[in-house]
């Protein structure tokens, strides 16, 4: 048996960490998601791409248990999302957070320790672990700075550190690169590569270029979800998702994600 086949069989024996079965969701009469089936295994790295308004954020909210599906069901770590989400590190869209709020970087990270316990008092151990998370994402020197003093890229790393504090087994990132400049973006993907050694990552983005070489699988979402079991995208699926012809651009051989086009 080849090692790869062996790994594949191990994977099949495991339970999925995320499982969506025939999920439908509509805002009033306007459908946002139609018959979405999707699953993730431990240490997967999946990118879901699709146009704005294609239902990406709705999907993330369903997975996080912030909204309930009209039909179908969602399982996170074999539990309903409200329970299973304790194993998830969540990075919401930058626009939903108040970047001007008067709070220090270390305090942002420590918020996570309130998980299910509003009586929790911060201990020295909590502070040390929060500093480890800040160190891991490379912004430890900023721990006593005010959040509003930080750049978009720095702020996003702080929110990742917050998501990491409770030792998640799955990291869910909603449009993580929207407020980050291209240089910070590359460094950001390097960070995700390191994190992916310990946890599964689900990333949602409207930007096709977000599908870097790190991503293991890609799904296209525009109300319907087209799932690829690899990261090879074909023009046909992209056109179905974006509703218009999409020009595939290869990023040179080392970074090739998409098929070379004629």
């Amino acid at each position: 048996m080849t090692p790869i086949l062996h790994l594949r069989m191990l994977e099949l024996m495991q339970d999925p960490i995320l499982f969506l079965s025939h999920v439908e969701y509509a805002y009033g009469k306007k459908p946002a998601l139609i018959d979405v089936c999707f699953s993730m295994m431990p240490l997967d790295f999946v990118a879901i791409i699709g146009p704005n308004g294609g239902g990406k954020s709705t999907l993330v909210q369903l997975i996080m248990g912030l909204i309930q599906p009209d039909k179908g069901h969602v399982l996170l770590f074999n539990e309903p999302p409200e329970k299973g989400r304790r194993h998830v590190g969540y990075l919401s869209q930058a626009s939903t957070m108040d970047a001007q709020y008067p709070i220090k970087v270390l305090d942002v990270v420590l918020t996570s320790r309130l998980l299910g316990n509003l009586w929790h008092r911060v201990t020295q151990k909590d502070r040390e672990e929060a500093c480890e998370c800040l160190d891991l994402v490379g912004v430890l020197p900023l721990q006593n700075r005010a959040l509003s003093d930080l750049s978009g890229g720095e702020r996003q790393r702080v929110f990742i550190a917050r998501a990491l504090l409770n030792g998640p087994r799955l990291l869910i990132l909603d449009e993580p690169t929207s407020s980050v400049d291209p240089q910070a973006e590359r460094a950001f993907y390097e960070l995700l590569k390191i994190l992916n050694e310990k946890m599964a990552i689900l990333m949602v983005s409207h930007d096709i270029s977000a599908v870097s070489q790190l991503v293991k699988k890609v799904a296209c979402l525009n109300q319907k979800l087209i799932y690829h079991d690899s990261k090879e995208l074909c023009a046909h699926d992209l056109e179905a998702t974006y509703g218009c012809p999409v020009e595939l651009i290869a990023h040179g051989v080392p970074h090739r994600v998409l098929h070379a086009h004629e």
Partner: protein, 263 residues
């Protein structure tokens, strides 16, 4: 100048000013960072319904304002949770309906309408010993509420979605915050009156917001700035024979303008 201190009414007024500063500095900070001035305004103004009701039925007006305000706060919480689409309109309705009920009740009663004016605009120089006791108790309740729930309240005012993901009881905490705002309104009632409550609730905190980037520091600084505004307002009121409430607000606004330029 110092002979003013011999008068009990003046001592009462200064003490009341300090008690007000504590509540509005602490709770006002949450109001400012969560940007819920409008919601707080509607709770404060509708408390007037409680004043009118207790005026008509002949029981303690502060008690009436507290009860009425607390029910309103609950109602606002429900509106925010269930009727998100019409939130803005409904909050406006609650705002004016409470006021209308208050005015109708006072018109129906045979009482002295001069009191109405003092509830609208406050008169800190007319504070009784009993008022001080009630306000001091409310202050203790408000401050201990914030001391106990400082971190969860910060979590829901900073990032509500993340607080939900952390399985915190976000809606209940939000209503709790609204109830604390109600109690703060009642605390401020005698000093500046219904019309000016929202100004004192937001101005010291907004001024502190301009010079600090930490919520705890902001609260402390807001208390200090509130104390400066109320104390100097009370002095000026006694000397110039002008109403204290508007003077306190003018001074608070002046402080806010200064911090705005520094910001």
């Amino acid at each position: 100048m110092s002979e003013l201190f011999q008068f009990v009414f003046f001592q009462h007024a200064l003490l009341m000013g300090l008690l007000c500063s504590v509540a509005c500095g602490v709770i006002g900070s949450y109001v400012v960072v969560k940007r819920i001035s409008f919601i707080s305004g509607s709770i404060a103004h509708s408390a007037f319904g409680g004043i009118g009701l207790s005026y008509l039925l002949g029981f303690n007006t502060l008690l009436g304002a507290t009860g009425f305000g607390m029910v309103t706060a609950l109602l606002v919480g429900v509106v925010k949770e269930r009727f998100k689409q019409q939130e803005d309109t409904l909050i406006g309705v609650i705002w004016s309906l409470g006021m209308a009920i208050g005015i109708l009740c006072i018109s129906l009663s045979q009482g002295y309408v001069g009191d109405l004016f003092s509830y609208m605009f406050g008169n800190i120089l007319l504070v009784s010993h009993a008022d001080l006791v009630v306000v001091a108790i409310l202050d203790v309740v408000v401050v201990s509420g914030v001391v106990v729930f400082f971190y969860p309240l910060r979590a829901i005012t900073f990032d509500e979605t993340y607080a939900k993901v952390l399985n915190l009881p976000v809606s209940r905490l939000y209503v709790f915050l609204l109830e604390l705002i109600t109690l703060t309104t009642v605390i401020l009632l005698k000093a500046v009156g219904i019309i000016l409550v929202i100004a004192l609730l937001t101005l010291p905190a907004a001024s502190a917001r301009n010079v600090t980037q930490d919520l705890k520091t902001m609260m402390g600084l807001a208390v200090l700035l509130g104390a400066i505004a109320t104390t100097s307002g009370i002095w000026m009121s006694a000397f110039l024979n002008l109403p204290s409430g508007p003077l306190i607000i003018v001074i608070s606004s002046a402080i806010y303008l200064v911090t705005l330029f520094r910001h």
